[in-house]
């Protein structure tokens, strides 16, 4: 914990952390200093002048708060007459050439210009000369659409691409009225984190071609969750909405601040992985090729399980810890071989040293911590004489090619519990639709041993059971996710004092608690 210092804001004493600038320090205690160009991840630039605050006694009378470190005994003026005037004047300046096309702007509703206009300006424009017009709807590549008229030239996007991705595709060209952000000719934004500039842009100058015009942001329900795109497990916000007479669908993922995992950003692949939650889903329960009632299929499965002399249970490394515990209990009850074989989920060389991991499985650490064997050898040995394979959403097509799967399965009967409808599910003797991670609550551990809990975001019209419920129907002694969590608390010592709702939003770092204390 950093040292605390005391300073005064508008004459009131507040205690803040030392070593931060004024914007961050006082925002931690709930006092907002308006700022446009400053972003904690990109550092202070000081070009927008929106964060100018007054200092009583000592130092210059006016300082940019983003570039001023908080110091003991500082007397900061925020609501003085002359500061208000500065804020108002800066806003008036920012809005001189603003096209005010909020009705067609995707940023409307989460736009800093709108917020600050309402908070600090609230005056009509005094412009009597024609506005400067610039280019609109420029395709910057990488799914980014740029509108130069809306741009306030804060340079956040430029700094992001220079400092964080170090690709530097964007630059600000020309000066004053003609200053604009642009790409170099023929060199579009081409990196795997490019879409973060859409979030970074405080106004509507950068919009995502993927989300463009799909939905107004105030309709979206925002639920914190965890990305399942790779083993990094970035904290995200799921923005979803159910339109009238339609199904609840996800419109976008946005990164959620988590200093322990992903900071402020996430990769493009993860951001666009929301599509997989909406599309290609398995929604039926099938006996062979025929759609049946869920209970009929479960009854069929239970008969099959009773007849089988050797059963193999395969789990996906994407399942939550609760689900893994349920499936493990099921396998123990059935006397079946449990495997988490999923070598195909690892794409060697795909990852980088930032937020993308080679391993595309969200919870491989969970398999390890629960002691579920994931080796190819033991899985194939078990499959050699298996009569029945119960597959909990493990995508075998990632690990084997078509002939490989055929020789692996042989004449083994299969029960496929799957979120998505693919060829393997189509060939399965029993197919059971299960909910995907946006539709259940659970806990996952990322590649850095950070345990995060996520809640249920989407409620489909046709709600599907989750793996815990299916496992219970097939004979697992754990009846629901709650019981599975209690079991999980016994397996992971660090969880014993936490209920799911109490797990901090930043997650629990098992490295510095008691990863060694794992008993399972």
């Amino acid at each position: 914990m950093a040292d605390k210092i005391k300073l005064f804001v508008n004459g009131e004493e507040v205690e803040v952390e030392s070593g931060k600038n004024l914007v961050d320090a006082v925002s931690a205690v709930g006092i907002e200093i308006p700022h446009l160009c400053y972003h904690p991840a990109l550092g202070a630039d000081g070009n927008c002048r929106m964060c100018l605050v007054g200092l009583e006694e000592g130092g210059p009378p006016l300082v940019p708060a983003c570039k001023t470190p908080a110091q003991e005994g500082m007397k900061v003026l925020l609501d003085a007459e002359h500061i208000r005037k500065i804020q108002h004047d800066v806003m008036e300046f920012e809005l001189i050439n603003h096209p005010i096309d909020c009705p067609v702007c995707d940023q409307a509703g989460e736009c800093k210009l709108q917020d600050y206009y309402m908070g600090y300006d609230r005056k009509d424009s005094r412009m009597t000369v024609p506005q400067v017009t610039k280019s609109k709807k420029l395709d910057f590549g990488g799914g980014v659409v740029h509108d130069q008229e809306r741009c306030i030239v804060c340079g956040r996007c430029v700094r992001f691409l220079r400092q964080i991705t170090k690709t530097g595709e964007l630059g600000i060209i020309n000066r004053t009225d003609t200053a604009r952000v642009n790409i170099f000719p023929g060199r579009p934004i081409d990196n795997r984190y490019g879409l973060n500039v859409v979030d970074l842009c405080p106004v509507g100058a950068m919009t995502s071609s993927d989300f463009r015009f799909k939905q107004r942001v105030w309709f979206l329900k925002k639920v914190p969750s965890v990305c399942h795109g790779c083993a990094k497990g970035c904290s995200i916000t799921i923005d979803h909405n159910r339109e009238k007479y339609q199904d609840d669908i996800i419109y976008r993922f946005r990164p959620r601040l988590n200093q322990q995992v992903n900071g402020y950003f996430m990769c493009n692949d993860g951001r666009l992985s929301y599509r997989r939650e909406n599309e290609g889903r398995l929604t039926q329960f099938r006996l062979g090729k025929n759609e049946r009632d869920m209970l009929d299929v479960i009854t069929g499965c239970n008969k099959e399980i009773a007849h089988s002399r050797k059963t193999v249970v395969l789990v996906s490394p994407d399942l939550s810890l609760e689900q893994m515990v349920s499936v493990k209990a099921l396998a123990e009850k059935l006397g079946a071989t449990l495997s988490g074989f999923s070598d195909g989920y690892i794409k060697t060389g795909d990852g980088d040293d930032y937020l993308i991991s080679d391993d595309k499985a969200a919870n491989r650490k969970g398999l390890e911590i629960l002691g579920i064997d994931s080796s190819r050898k033991s899985f194939e040995e078990a499959m050699a004489d298996a009569e029945l394979l119960i597959n909990f959403n493990n995508d075998l097509s990632l690990s084997y090619d078509e002939s490989g799967i055929r020789s692996l399965l042989g004449d083994t009967r299969t029960i496929a519990c799957s979120t998505h409808d693919d060829e393997l599910t189509g060939q399965a003797h029993f197919a059971l639709a299960i909910s995907s991670y946006s539709e259940y609550a659970g806990t996952v551990i990322n590649c850095d041993n950070v345990l995060q809990h996520f809640t249920k975001a989407v409620t489909k019209n046709n709600e599907l059971p989750d793996v815990c419920a299916i496992a219970a129907e097939l004979g697992s002694p754990l009846q629901n996710a709650g019981q599975a969590y209690a079991e999980l608390q016994r397996a992971i010592g660090a969880l014993s004092e936490y209920q799911p709702a109490d797990i901090p939003a930043e997650g629990l770092n098992l490295n510095d608690s008691e990863a060694a204390n794992v008993t399972a």
């Binding site: 096309d101 009705p103 067609v104 015009f213 799909k214 309709f219 009238k244």
Partner: protein, 174 residues
């Protein structure tokens, strides 16, 4: 402050009133008086011969909606969703798409109003920043043979013109 109290004498206690028959006949006399007078001469009747004679609709009457268009016939709406956001009955459903005619960036691909759900409050008209939706068609009677016919699509909404001149409409407070 106490309200003004006016005391009204209670009637019905005299002998004549308590023998109901007399009062009934007095009442019937009034009724039949009107009946015969109206039967013989209905020119003074306070009744409109609807639907042969239609009422005059004031400009500010909130009738069935329409979408307005530019002079070249293209739709004014830019799909900002203000009307859908403001609609208390949630009867408006819009889908937005890219606009390529240079008038704006965005336009409605579909714009549906379910007239069975609409409460004709006029909030959509108030919310519209572009005067793209109006309730000035003068249609006060919406009829149909099935539910689907009450679901107005973008073409239905664009087809109808306003029932008043632009000048009168503006005078009406728009």
């Amino acid at each position: 402050m106490g309200a003004k109290v006016k005391t009204i004498a209670r009637r019905g206690s005299t002998l004549q009133e308590r023998i109901f028959l007399i009062e009934i006949f007095k009442g019937m006399a009034t009724t039949f008086g009107h009946f015969w007078r109206n039967l013989l001469d209905n020119s003074k009747l306070y009744v409109r011969h609807y639907p042969e004679v239609k009422p005059e609709i004031p400009v500010r009457w909130r009738g069935r909606h329409r979408l307005t268009s530019h002079e070249d016939g293209s739709v004014k709406c830019v799909a900002c969703f203000m009307c859908q956001t403001n609609c208390p009955a949630q009867c408006i459903q819009i889908q937005a798409g890219e606009r390529l005619d240079g008038k704006a960036e965005k336009m409605p691909v579909s714009f549906n109003i379910d007239l069975l759900e609409c409460i004709y409050c006029g909030y959509c008209v108030e919310a519209c920043p572009l005067d793209a939706i109006r309730m000035d068609t003068g249609i006060y009677s919406v009829t149909g043979k099935d539910r689907e016919s009450f679901n107005m699509g973008i073409d239905d909404l664009l087809a109808k013109q306003g029932a008043f001149t632009e000048e009168d409409y503006k005078k009406g407070g728009a």
